[in-house]
Symmetry: C2
């Protein structure tokens, strides 16, 4: 087990923190070059977050949407992968400190640490309303939804049954819309015949949004199409209803309390604490302001991209927190750093090319917004969405597996991953009434 | 949500506790008949335990080897599934008490609650050496093995590295043999190129057995073939070494201590506590003695089968704790109860037909014992084993999925489910030295 020379490179490496869409794209753009690269992530896998809602609703298994980072990059000897959690950044000494183990020196540092959920100061809501940011959370949601039906089947109290079969999704963005549609389909199709005392098709799925309409990032006609599609699936859409409280019994909105056993939080997103690590000022959402070349203003040799960066487009508007933005920024920055480090070329400015913003609404409906007047909705949009997402999945084996599972599920309405494997909730959560 | 008549059947149902191979076979034999059946399990899925070691070694996902019980039985209106945990049995009142919810009255009761691991009185070993009985344990083992390599890659202390890359499997039965072989292959093939500082192919996999040889349930020549196959894969086989202690640092055997970060317990099995529920005497392994017709001696209308029953064959020997025994007993008892309840036919005695006892030793070697002199070993045995296990999997969709994944893995040596998703161990466990 001798340490090869790459362990102590002559020049400090390009260190990338975060192996999401952005960080991984930087690594891939530098892969196979003479630039030493170290990629740090606290997970050992790259997670295909846009399909996480399908794990939460029992359509896919975690391994279908996650790929070991080492495996993706195994054939590039210039890339070292470190599984670790960042504790801080020493800007003067040019080092990344981890919670365990030696600090990692950098020549250039790319911060691609994404975003987390925020409960707007109501952190105690988190225990009752998990968000959808990690495999663990997706598994928790899956367990709560399925467990609700199991407990309802066993209960003879009509009020308890109704509460157990009520699922509230908070937040009318793409995550909330996709979750609500997918849960409604789970109840109406996959589970329809499985119970004897309850009728899963009578489950209530409620989507609550504080603003005046769903999907504010999309044009109005696509958003109202999405709302109609959800309502056809049986989802109750409540716009203009800010959530006032969430506890073990359910969700409170102005003037009423909705008893619900499963609550899913899709309302708030906040950038990673990277600004704190760097000791610089962030914007209201915690994002780091970056220049057109994605360098962090005032901090030499540090770059940021994706959800954790505030990057303005040509019109002075912030780029949205989308996978395609992070991926394009990552590819751009990786290529730019390679040319800069090997040939001294100046870093060119980044320009975003909108490849279409999509949301899926149930089994055969989706909306696509390509900017301007170019839009698509319905079954063709769903097919396009499905095709794009299968192609985007990083690994060939996954592509085969996910395609087959989708096809199978599409033909049979079945869900293959309907397992309750998280330890059950404490009795207090199970029957608080 | 009116309760259908089947909710309050005229005659109390056949209640089956446990949806393993035995309990599920009883339910299937009664499916579609006029006999009301209630099947109770504390999980919502039937688990294909013989393939659990492949989940623990990242070859398969949990959903590949688990199928929702409701889904399996959805089309039989005479069968009700209850997700619940048994607290006790009221033999006089003919009721099964659950830890939550109303008790369930039975006309006949079938106990098919299987077995659990036992640490022979050393329960504190469990935290350091998980066994392989549940999806949660399989996930814990997968995480510890993979995390060991990650921590070793980050460590610069040779002794710590060696400990992190040492995996000890305790127990030379089929579970221990299959785990050791599968982990050796994971390290030697799937992970071989993924690291930069460590060489995963130098990982130590040690199989410790207290007895004089491996696989005592198999003929000697098959067992020694299995040992040679394991050693070819790089496994160190230590027979005649009873374990004296297990703690966070490793495993102690007579005269020496083996520092190891991952320890897997495959040594002891004990029947479920069903004898306690019934208030009757069990044998040394906790099994309930049953008559030839599988009825529990002295307890009217109660039957037991599978790992939790002590059932003697024609020669007066106890039948082994194998899936095929439980499955044959379940089918036999289900048919017998149907004829008895509908036509008053007496319960016939059960006779076991040995369909072959198998163990797999790595990617293309297995052993098969059909009784007498009929034996098989090597690649053909592996092919037979693979074919049998694919066919045995309960659900068609799973069959397709598992076949494809196996084929893929076979062609590429890859592991699709290599995710570290259990919360990491406390620092004390990570670097106790």
């Amino acid at each position: 087990m001798e340490q090869p020379p790459s362990d102590q490179p002559a020049s400090p490496p390009v260190v990338i923190v975060g192996a999401g869409f952005g960080g991984l794209a930087v690594a891939k753009a530098l892969a196979g070059s003479d630039v030493p690269v170290t990629l740090i992530d606290h997970n050992n896998y790259h997670l295909f977050v846009p399909l996480l809602y399908q794990v939460a609703t029992a359509a896919l298994s975690p391994a279908d949407i996650a790929e070991p980072i080492r495996h993706i990059l195994a054939r590039y000897p210039n890339i070292t992968v470190v599984m670790g959690r960042v504790a801080g950044i020493d800007v003067a000494g040019k080092q990344v400190r981890l919670t365990e183990g030696d600090p990692i020196a950098y020549g250039r540092l790319v911060i691609a640490t994404g975003s987390t959920s925020t409960y707007f100061g109501n952190d105690r809501w988190a225990a009752h309303a998990p968000s959808l940011k990690s495999i663990e959370e997706a598994r928790t949601i899956r367990t709560r939804v399925l467990e609700g039906f199991e407990l309802a089947e066993r209960s003879s109290d009509p009020a308890a049954r109704e509460r157990l079969m009520t699922i509230v999704v908070v937040g009318g963005g793409p995550t909330g819309v996709e979750m609500a549609g997918s849960i409604a389909e789970l109840a109406r199709h996959a589970l329809a015949r499985d119970f004897r005392r309850i009728d899963p098709t009578t489950a209530r799925v409620i989507l609550i949004e504080a603003g005046a309409r769903l999907l504010t990032a999309f044009p109005e006609n696509l958003a109202s199409y999405a709302q109609r599609s959800l309502e056809r699936l049986g989802v109750t859409v409540m716009t203009g209803h800010p959530v006032q409280d969430i506890d073990a019994t359910g969700v409170s909105i102005a003037g009423s309390h909705i008893p619900a056993a499963t609550i899913i939080w899709g309302a708030g997103v906040r950038a990673s604490p990277a600004a704190t690590w760097l000791g610089i000022e962030a914007d209201r959402s915690g994002r780091i302001p970056v220049s057109a070349d994605l360098s962090v203003t005032g901090v030499p040799d540090v770059y940021a991209l994706g959800d954790t960066a505030l990057c303005l487009d040509a019109a002075g508007q912030p780029l949205p927190g989308l996978a395609q933005v992070a991926q394009q920024q990552g590819s751009h920055l990786g290529r730019a750093l390679r040319e800069n480090l090997l040939h001294g070329t100046a870093l060119p400015p980044f320009a975003f090319h909108n490849r279409g913003n999509a949301a899926i609404v149930g089994r055969h409906a989706a909306i696509f917004d390509f900017g301007g007047q170019r839009r698509l909705k319905g079954f063709v949009a769903w097919l396009l969405w499905a095709a794009v997402h299968v192609v985007l999945l990083v690994d060939f084996a996954q592509r085969v597996r996910v395609s087959l599972q989708w096809l199978w599920r599409y033909l049979t309405y079945r869900r293959g991953a309907r397992l309750i494997t998280v330890p059950p909730r404490a009795p207090a959560r199970q029957s608080p009434q």
